[in-house]
């Protein structure tokens, strides 16, 4: 089939969500609505210490006073926060020693997603802490990690087992009052992951978490806290898919990274939540606050491949507090049909000789809107700060939009800031050139998109890069052939 603009459009529209299924596992679900009792009940359900309950209540008070932000370049019907149930946990809870004990239906779900725990254990050397609707049901490789003194567990467990670490760092990078969704998350977060790498330890494997939203109408509020102590290194992977649903599902996660002196954290995300069907119905609302703090000589690197969600509102950021610290942001955001993404980063230069790099690749198709929003801020004391930003947009068809909102605030004369932006369109000429060499249109689009995204894909860990590449093709290609 040869390519015309019309045909490409049709192809793009006919791709339905591949992972649209729903697991029927009995759940322990709270009634809809949010008030102090619910916040206390969540905390109680999770057998949390009093300080945590109080912290949640404080967050709830802050949240009540806040209004939902409207500055993002997205349009949607605001969720009714009183119509959401704030807690849902798979019923047959307690932790398992082996996978055999896990609900077979749950395992089947993982299989459909292509997540084989065993395989991952063996082949990839990845310890997986799976969050199935809020509560961790399986944790592997804990022993190997424990030998190195690495703590990798659910945040609920960490609150109980390592309260001194959680107490010290939770809310230290993303304060409760930071924004509307962060405050909400702080009040009602259900579960998430916790990771601590001790001084001088290099984490021997990629740590990985799969998130999944499963209960109809249940908001998912993850809380992730990663602490890399002085001179340590960790690479953390996060990937997710969700079942296809008609009503909108709210997701408001908070991720906090702390890289102490000379530490390095690499945080990679592949996000494939249900984006809504081709008429723009349903889909996940993804309002996420991700931020990392770098102390002296520390480095934080965010890499994300965003293909899912109906609405994405997400700005993984770095606070470069320590001298010589480095922040990096590599992003591919794909929007198709009626998806809307407003995503980017903030690089806050506080320390001397701090460096940041931003590479953002936006790919828009269908009737979607894809915005890059980024802030580079250089504080008055940040001598010799350097930033390089590159924002590239690729358009497919005539009905989508790509937007770039770069903000640059510089208060120190020694700063060097570079910003490059390009917008291109997959042209009929490119497609014909590929066709003439024997490459069909579908393959040609995949080739062009992969080429466009290469700089970012290269930043992902190997096993993730392959998955991400596949995901890009799935998200953009039609059912041709």
């Amino acid at each position: 089939m040869a390519y015309t603009e019309e045909e490409l459009k049709k192809e793009l529209e006919t791709k339905e969500y591949e992972y649209g299924f729903y697991t029927d596992i009995e759940s322990d679900t709270f009634p809809n609505g949010l008030n102090e009792e619910i916040v206390i009940a969540i905390s109680k359900k999770k057998q949390e210490p009093e300080w945590m309950t109080l912290w949640r209540l404080e967050s709830f008070k802050i949240w009540k006073e806040m209004v939902e932000p409207e500055w993002a370049n997205v349009k949607y019907k605001k969720p009714d926060f009183q119509a959401i149930s704030y807690y849902s946990a798979p019923n047959k809870k307690p932790k398992y020693d082996s996978l055999d004990e896990v609900d077979p239906e749950l395992l089947d779900t993982f299989k459909k997603l292509g997540i084989s725990l065993d395989e991952q254990k063996k082949l990839a050397g990845v310890a997986v802490d799976i969050v199935m609707d809020s509560v961790s049901v399986a944790t592997t490789f804990k022993k190997t990690l424990a030998e190195k003194g690495i703590i990798f567990c659910s945040i609920s467990e960490a609150i109980k087992e390592h309260p001194e670490l959680v107490k010290k760092y939770i809310g230290s990078v993303v304060p409760q009052k930071d924004n509307f969704y962060a405050a909400l998350n702080s009040a009602v977060f259900s579960d998430g992951s916790f990771c601590y790498i001790p001084k001088g330890v290099r984490c021997p494997m990629e740590l990985s978490t799969y998130f999944r939203i499963n209960q109809a109408g249940t908001g998912q509020f993850e809380r992730t806290l990663v602490i890399a102590d002085e001179g340590s290194y960790v690479s953390y992977l996060e990937g997710c898919t969700a079942p296809s649903r008609d009503e909108n599902q709210l997701h408001a996660a908070v991720v906090e990274l702390i890289a102490l002196d000379n530490a390095e954290i690499k945080y990679s995300t592949v996000q494939n939540w249900f984006p809504g069907n081709k008429d723009g119905k349903g889909g996940v609302y993804n309002f996420v606050t991700k931020r990392g703090l770098c102390e002296k000589n520390a480095k934080i690197s965010w890499t994300q491949v965003e293909t899912g969600s109906a609405i994405t509102w997400k700005y993984p950021s770095c606070i470069l507090k320590g001298d010589n610290s480095i922040g990096e942001f590599y992003s591919i955001a794909v929007t198709n049909n009626y998806q809307q993404a407003d995503t980017g980063t903030k690089m806050i230069h506080l320390g001397k000789n701090t460096k940041s790099t931003i590479i953002s690749k936006g790919i828009s198709a269908g009737k979607s809107q894809n915005s890059y929003r980024g802030l580079v801020q250089v504080n008055s004391r940040a001598e010799n700060a350097r930033n390089f930003s590159q924002c590239d947009s690729l358009l497919m068809g005539n009905e989508c939009g790509a937007h770039t909102f770069p903000y640059i605030e510089v208060k120190n004369k020694s700063a060097q800031i570079e910003h490059e932006a390009t917008t291109s369109k997959i042209g009929e000429d490119q497609i014909f050139y590929c066709n003439q060499r024997g490459i069909n249109t579908e393959k040609a689009i995949a080739l062009i998109v992969n080429g466009f995204s290469k700089e970012v894909l290269n930043k992902l860990p190997m096993e993730f890069a392959v998955e991400a590449q596949k995901l890009l093709e799935i998200s953009l290609e039609g059912s041709v052939g």
Partner: protein, 250 residues
């Protein structure tokens, strides 16, 4: 090899080809010359199956098969290769990766397995040496930031890799200095055999000193107005196209 019967083609409402007749046999080199806007590049694109052009009348046959409903990629699989006048940039896709994809797609269409990496490397080494191409060049993004000469040489490299039955070189000489021209022409000459055919589209006689045609056709206003041997090219060089325009009844 190629047979074109009374071919008419248009883009939008503009008629560009107005009754082309051409027969190219295996082992032959044909040159198509003509002034700007005479329809040379359109003819090349129509043979390659570019859908922007609507064929309103006539047929194109490759080895006896009517190509009417054949997609550009299938025409490529059947052995048609077009060296573009303006090769297209594809950022982030290396020359090697592009060729690997192209070769394997063609093999897939023929029901063959993917070419083993070892064979692919060998082929790349062989062909890049033949065309005096530095292999570092092959890891660069396709045509991105290439000089005019590099782009054209890369087209011929692709031709060498794909080993087409019918190669159409659309203004391959434009933008080439004399050394690059010699290398490109040598490449084409080495690839020439009794089993394949080449159509050289050019403005100038210069390229034809290196790739010697068996036949020369002059295209004017969508028609072949004169055919002859390579001497016709020399005559054109000397007299320009005007005498032909006057000579031909339009």
């Amino acid at each position: 090899m190629l047979k074109i019967n009374n071919l008419y083609a248009r883009v939008d409402d503009k008629e560009i080809l107005k009754g082309i007749n051409l027969t190219v046999n295996a082992g032959e080199v044909h040159a198509i010359m003509g002034p700007n806007g005479s329809g040379k590049s359109t003819l090349a694109a129509v043979i390659a199956g570019k859908e922007e052009f609507e064929v309103t009348e006539g047929e194109v046959f490759l080895e006896g098969e009517n190509l009417e409903d054949t997609s550009p990629e299938d025409r490529a699989h059947k052995g048609i290769f077009l060296s573009f006048q303006y090769p297209i940039e594809i950022p982030g896709v290396s020359v090697t990766n592009f060729m690997k994809t192209a070769i394997n797609e063609s093999r897939k269409a023929k029901g063959l397995e993917e070419m083993p990496a070892k064979d692919m490397l060998k082929l790349i080494r062989e062909k890049s040496e033949m065309l005096e191409i530095d292999r570092k060049f092959l890891s660069r993004s396709l045509n991105e930031g290439f000089s005019g000469g590099e782009k054209k040489r890369n087209e011929i490299f692709q031709m060498a890799m794909l080993e087409p039955k019918l190669a159409i070189l659309d203004e391959t000489d434009s933008g080439l200095d004399i050394d690059a021209l010699r290398i490109v022409a040598n490449g084409v000459n080495k690839l020439k055999s009794k089993d394949n055919a080449v159509i050289v589209i050019t403005h100038y006689q210069r390229l034809l000193e290196y790739i010697v045609p068996d036949f020369v056709h002059v295209l004017h206003n969508g028609r072949i107005v004169k055919s002859g041997t390579k001497d016709l090219a020399l005559e054109l060089e000397e007299k320009g196209y005007d005498w032909l325009k006057q000579e031909t009844v339009l």
